[in-house]
């Protein structure tokens, strides 16, 4: 059987005529293949490695498309300005209604001995989102290197956002300053307010 690739590689004849008797069927052309790429920025913005921040799939969409659609991008920061040397700070963060967590973000003014560790706890459901305090860079990354929720990154491209209780949701964060100096710390949640589950 003559296919586009076999004609290209082996030159095994012209494309077959249309069964309707019209002109020969058009071969699959390169411009038509390119036209199927939905997001050209997937190449320029994503990294060469397959990191967690690579949430867009070239020629497709977001890895979260199967879980949530619509809604407004939302950032909820919590600042410790500063947290004293080796001190532990806690804060109860009130979340906006219908908030779905996609990622954390974090920064520290001092990061000589690891910066800080953080523990995140869903107060309403009494669930720890971290088994134990986690180093902030491993938890949140940064703006230019965010880490998105999702266990099974890679070829299967599965990502699962976390939906908090729709109303009056709160998280408790516990921050441990690993530095022996005052540390200006910002830790927060990035996600979507509103939106709706994608149709299965």
């Amino acid at each position: 059987m003559s296919t586009f690739l076999s004609r290209l590689l082996f030159k095994d004849g012209p494309p077959p005529a249309s069964p309707d008797g019209g002109p020969p069927l058009r071969p699959l052309m390169l411009p038509r293949i390119i036209a199927t790429f939905e997001n050209i920025f997937a190449v320029s913005g994503n990294t060469a490695a397959d990191n967690q921040k690579d949430v867009y799939i070239e020629g497709d969409g977001s890895v979260f498309d199967g879980a949530i659609q619509g809604g407004t991008p939302t950032w909820i920061p919590c600042d410790f300005l500063p947290l004293g040397p080796s001190k532990t700070g806690r804060s109860k963060m009130a979340l906006p209604d219908n908030f779905t967590l996609l990622a954390f973000f974090a920064s520290a003014s001092s990061n000589v001995k690891g910066g800080f560790r953080v523990n995140v706890y869903d107060i309403n459901r009494r669930i720890r989102l971290t088994e134990r305090p986690v180093n902030f860079n491993l938890m949140g990354g940064t703006g230019n290197s965010p880490l998105f929720l999702g266990g099974d990154w890679g070829p299967s491209r599965m990502a699962l956002p976390y939906q908090f209780q729709p109303f009056n949701a709160q998280v408790m964060i516990t921050i441990v300053n690993l530095e022996t100096v005052n540390n200006s710390i910002e830790f927060g949640l990035y996600g979507i307010q509103g939106g709706h589950p994608a149709a299965s």
């Binding site: 939905e38 997001n39 050209i40 920025f41 320029s44 913005g45 994503n46 990294t47 921040k53 690579d54 949430v55 867009y56 969409g61 977001s62 890895v63 979260f64 949530i68 659609q69 619509g70 809604g71 407004t72 991008p73 939302t74 950032w75 909820i76 920061p77 919590c78 600042d79 804060s91 109860k92 963060m93 009130a94 979340l95 906006p96 996609l102 990622a103 973000f105 974090a106 920064s107 940064t142 703006g143 230019n144 290197s145 965010p146 998105f148 910002e186 927060g188 949640l189 979507i192 939106g195």
Partner: protein, 144 residues
């Protein structure tokens, strides 16, 4: 549209980059800068990138048409303080540095709608900032 003879326009995605520039004065609090979405099409926001003079800069973002905030205070503020937003380096990265920030669930910004940015500087020096929105113009093209 059924029976009217008219057909719905086809939406074509055209790559588009929107830019907000601000020369934030030293120690400014809630210094405003406005982004207006072009009239010709809605804008679908996919990536965010920010460059600045100093990282000691916070930002708030509000959708003017709906007064919808995109950045919320996560903790109670002490008396006499006001919420100034998120450190810009936690919001987005630079494309040259390590890849810009993916919005992850692309957000559609309606044509002509305005978005208010408010910058607060703590570097005590002038801070030149550029906020770049990468995404697509959703152009409506009549079907022939």
């Amino acid at each position: 549209m059924a029976g009217s003879g008219a057909t719905a326009p086809q939406i074509v995605k055209i790559p588009r980059v929107l830019v907000v520039d601000a020369a934030v004065t030293a120690s400014a609090v809630l210094f405003p800068a406005l982004l207006t979405i072009p009239q010709d099409a809605d804008f679908e926001w996919w990536w965010w990138a920010i460059s600045r003079t100093s990282a000691l800069l916070k930002m708030l973002l509000t959708e003017s048409g709906t007064s919808r905030q995109m950045i919320f205070p996560g903790s109670q503020l002490t008396a006499g303080t006001q919420f100034l937003g998120v450190n810009v380096d936690n919001l987005a990265g630079t494309v040259a540095g390590n890849g810009s920030f993916p919005i992850a669930v692309p957000y559609v910004m309606p044509a002509s709608r305005q978005y208010t940015h408010q910058f607060s500087d703590t570097s005590a020096a002038p801070n030149t900032v550029e906020v770049v929105y990468h995404g697509f113009a959703l152009l409506a093209v009549p079907q022939s």
